[in-house]
């Protein structure tokens, strides 16, 4: 199951990394686009362009990993769904495993 979730995230092609950042950004609560870019820049040091950001948002929303919340403003906030959270957890677990292996190999070197 976990493996398939990871594959689903990587299936987003060039949007897989921005999508991971968006899921990560929404992990601590709903945010709109601008807040997401600020948060992502602060956490990862990468500044997502509007095209890349909304390309990722559109794909995540299509998969129902995030969902929009009602808003009177033009800036619509998004929240993580249960499935999105599971996908994010699986992806982070995978990255953690990679990190462990990398650190162990560096320690041996």
């Amino acid at each position: 199951m976990k493996k398939t979730s990871q594959e689903s995230l990587t299936d987003l092609g060039r949007f897989s990394e921005p999508a991971l950042f968006v899921l990560l950004s929404l992990a601590d609560g709903p945010k709109h686009g601008y807040a997401m870019t600020q948060d992502i820049e602060q956490v990862t040091g990468q500044k997502l362009g509007p095209g890349t950001l909304y390309g990722a948002i559109a794909r995540l929303e299509a998969r129902r990993w995030i969902e929009p919340l009602p808003s009177d403003d033009r800036r619509r906030p998004y929240k993580l769904t249960g499935t999105g959270e599971r996908v994010l957890r699986a992806r982070l677990e995978s990255l953690r495993a990679v990190m462990r292996v990398g650190q162990a190999r560096l320690a041996d070197a």
Binding site: A58, R64, T83
Partner: protein, 259 residues
């Protein structure tokens, strides 16, 4: 307003219509909140092109507008390729005329007389592409191999025509070859479309089941109902399996391009 800001606003309007309707207000709000930059313009241009490509792929691309885009692209590529060969031939003719004055035709005559056949070919291509709107008669849409064959045919026939080595019979032969290939593709695509229809019918129930599971998952997001861990795990597993089925359906639909 700075040039990057103006370009960014223009590029937002260039997105596919369905995409624009859904996200344009949010994107405008985001762009207004950030200072305009050329990297932002580049990002929007790349993403816009990507969304157009995505809009013409997958099962949702059966609208007439998408087919018109495909026809326009086929026409544009064919025209550009033919024109490039024609101009290159003209330039080469000038060079050859300078070197071998007696053995080549008057170079400016080639450029000025116009090549009606050159313009007729892309027009024919446009007609063929537009005719694909009739799925019962011709292929549902232009496939990549057909497009390449069409461009190759354009280049070869234009080159031959330019150098005066192609007589009318040869052009007719090439035309016949093109339509034979086209007809062959039509027959294959119709057989494939029938198989896809059966596949759709067989997996349609699974898609409906996945929709129901999504509803349950959304209810779970809102806290209702509270599922026991084993049921929650089973739900996740089922959704993943059905997601794979949906991916399989999408992959099979891509087979509508037989080559």
């Amino acid at each position: 307003m700075a040039v990057p800001d103006q370009l960014a606003r223009f590029l937002i309007r260039a997105y596919p219509r369905a995409w624009r309707i859904r996200y344009v207000a949010e994107m405008r709000a985001l762009i207004e909140a950030r200072p305009g930059s050329w990297s932002q313009v580049f990002d929007l241009a790349r993403a816009c092109a990507g969304e157009w490509v995505a809009a013409t792929q997958g099962p949702a691309r059966s609208t007439i507008s998408v087919r018109l885009i495909e026809a326009a692209v086929a026409w544009g590529v064919a025209l550009a390729a033919g024109l490039a060969v024609w101009l290159a031939g003209g330039v080469l003719a000038v060079v050859l005329a300078a070197l071998f004055r007696d053995s080549t035709p008057e170079p400016f005559g080639w450029l000025l007389m116009g090549n009606l056949a050159l313009w007729a070919r892309p027009a024919l291509g446009l007609g063929v592409a537009l005719s694909s709107r009739k799925p019962s008669v011709l292929r549902p849409r232009i496939g990549p191999r057909e497009l390449w064959l069409w461009v190759a045919w354009m280049v070869v026939s234009s080159a031959l025509h330019q150098w005066g080595r192609a007589d009318a019979d040869f052009i007719v032969l090439l035309n016949g070859l093109w339509f034979l290939l086209y007809w062959d593709g039509t027959v294959r695509a119709q057989k494939l479309a029938e198989a896809l229809k059966q596949f759709d019918a067989a997996t349609g129930d699974l898609t409906e089941a996945r929709r129901q599971l999504w509803r349950l998952d959304r209810l779970k997001d809102r806290g209702l109902p509270v599922l026991p861990p084993e049921m929650d795990q089973a739900l996740t597993h089922e959704m993943t399996c059905l997601h794979d089925v949906q991916r399989l359906r999408a992959a099979v639909r891509k087979l509508q391009y037989p080559w």
